[in-house]
Amino acid sequence: MTGAGTAIYWNNMPHSGVIIRADRSGGVAVLCGATDIGQGSDSILAYLPAEVLGIDPKDVRVHPADTDLTPVDLGSYSSRVTLMCGVAAIQAATRLKRVLFEAVAKKLEVEPSHLVARERKIGVPDDWDKAVSFADAVVLGEATHGVLAFAGSYAPPKRAGKYKGGGVGPSPCYSYSACVVELTVDEETGEVALDDVWVAHDVGRALNPLLVEGQVEGSIYMGIGEALMEEQVFRKGLHKCPSMLEYKSPTTLETPDIHTILVETDDPEGPFGAKEAGQGPLLPVIPAIANAIYHATGVRIDEVPITPDKIIRGLDLRRRGKPARVGPERIPVFAFKEPLVVESAFGQPADAIAVRPFGGPES
């Protein structure tokens, strides 16, 4: 991991980049390397510039994930896409807006700071009849500024640690989750049926609540798989379950009713306050399932997956008056290597707040 982390991350360049371009018809193009794997990042790249520019998401054409055309985004992993490309998109759109405001301000003979962008127009709120349509604003902007194309960039402010490998997964903000699970255990077979799962997740701000709920539900499903089914077992160095038939993960039939509660807290680092929702919600699911099984049966399973076999063994132990715990009896003896401390990188102390010459969202 250290080697890969060093090779990929240890540089001062943005983690995500966006180029925004406005054309004379009033359309806006957004180019970004972010890859939509179903989480909805393409639509996020339309919502955020639309919000900044006072236009509709449908006025924005998103051109994602084409290395011939788009600036780099590091990828869909680590629950980082909305946050990082989102901030870059807001920065790019804000730079475009500034030029449009300057051009419209000159035309309306007002100060740019008095202007707002909304309803596909730019104007002074108290004198909205004179507001200029967004398409006309683009024409004015292009006439004074030239071609309207602007870049936005994002990198996290701080490295995760001043040791080798510390560049992996820097977290500009943290989300919090709570989970309650109700389940039924068959005492004869040890089979677990999940009845309901409630998750409250601090998402900062839900840019599209439907998408965020989908992300949370996906996390619940992943958590259920990790808690009850998924297992890395090797035979002679080969995975015992190398196919999707044998590597068990839940299907819709094993997935219970999910009750998602989105908690909005408005994070200062995220785009319009948004934080991750891609993986955080899965973390409390696993211990909640383990605790619910303990609550139901009095059996404590200390390792995942919690299989029917282990529950039956625990119930047998309990019937025989023994401690009803199944799993490893002690933490394995393992000597962790000393971290390799990196004192400085690129002329700065390694744990310094990174100077981001490409600026924050409003620059």
Binding site: E188, T189, G190, M229, R235, K236, L238, K240, C241, P242, S243, L245, E246, K248, P250, T251, T252, L253, E254, T307, P308, D309, I312
Partner: protein, 329 residues
Amino acid sequence: MMRLPPFTYLAPKTIGEAVTLMAEHDGNAMLVAGGTDLYPNMKRRQFEPKVLVGLHGIRELRGVRGTPESGLTIGAGVILSAVARHPDIWRSYRGLATAAGLVSSPQLRNMGTIGGNVCLDTRCNYYNQSYSWRKAIGFCMKKDGDICLVAPSSSRCWAVSSSDTAPVLWSLGAQVKLASASGERTVPISTLYRDDGIEYLAKRPDEILTEIVLPPADGWRSEYLKLRRRGSFDFPVLGVAVAARMDGGRVREARIVLGAVASLPREAATAAQALVGERLTLDVIALSADLAAGPSKPLDNTDFTHPYRKKMTRVFVARALRRIAGLPV
């Protein structure tokens, strides 16, 4: 991605044409009906036939004839979802309808046939793997190798009978009709299977299973329970088929057949015998269930641990008998 190798597909319209084609190709052709087992196995190079004789276009293999009073004849080409929802089968041969409805997923039950499920290849998690995985771990004797990776000191293959319908049909006393160029024969399904993971069918490769004949329902009640990790589409790692013929509250005849714990459906005859002449009380059920666990000898070559599968045999037999007795499960 795993792709199908090239093969020739022959599409006979009658059983007569099909048996002729099988005879002509003399062991080099395989039969395919729904293909839900065969094609994945071909992609993994577990089967490498040059010629497939497709049974899909043969009308004679379709349809269910007869009545529960006289006995039912099910064409081997009837799809599993049709078996599961057939009113007479559901009413009078409940275990069979249940088992057919628990095979895999709805999509595969709409393709897979009962004949195919009865002849399903035995399974083993050293065998049902990609060619490259099998090559990396060292081929097993069921395909390309010469040892059993589950029981390396054994001279035989221990792949597991994984059909849901076979144990139920056995418990119901079904017969199967086999056709070949040299004629037809009808044999009890209990004689169709051999205790060997490779040569698991006691029929010649050129014989085509054309019909399944169920005896008159005549007071028989049947149940099937299936153990698997996920209710959505997994293969059985234990199947329990119980059939009992009741006579005034007492058991006149009974059969208990276990699936997925051996290379063939495994009859638990002593456990069934313990029911005969008895009322299905909880004590009688517990005794029979304990006896049924005896012949259940799974090995570590499916999902779940084999001690757990053995332990669950008792639980599942007891539950199936409680259902037959109308007791709370």
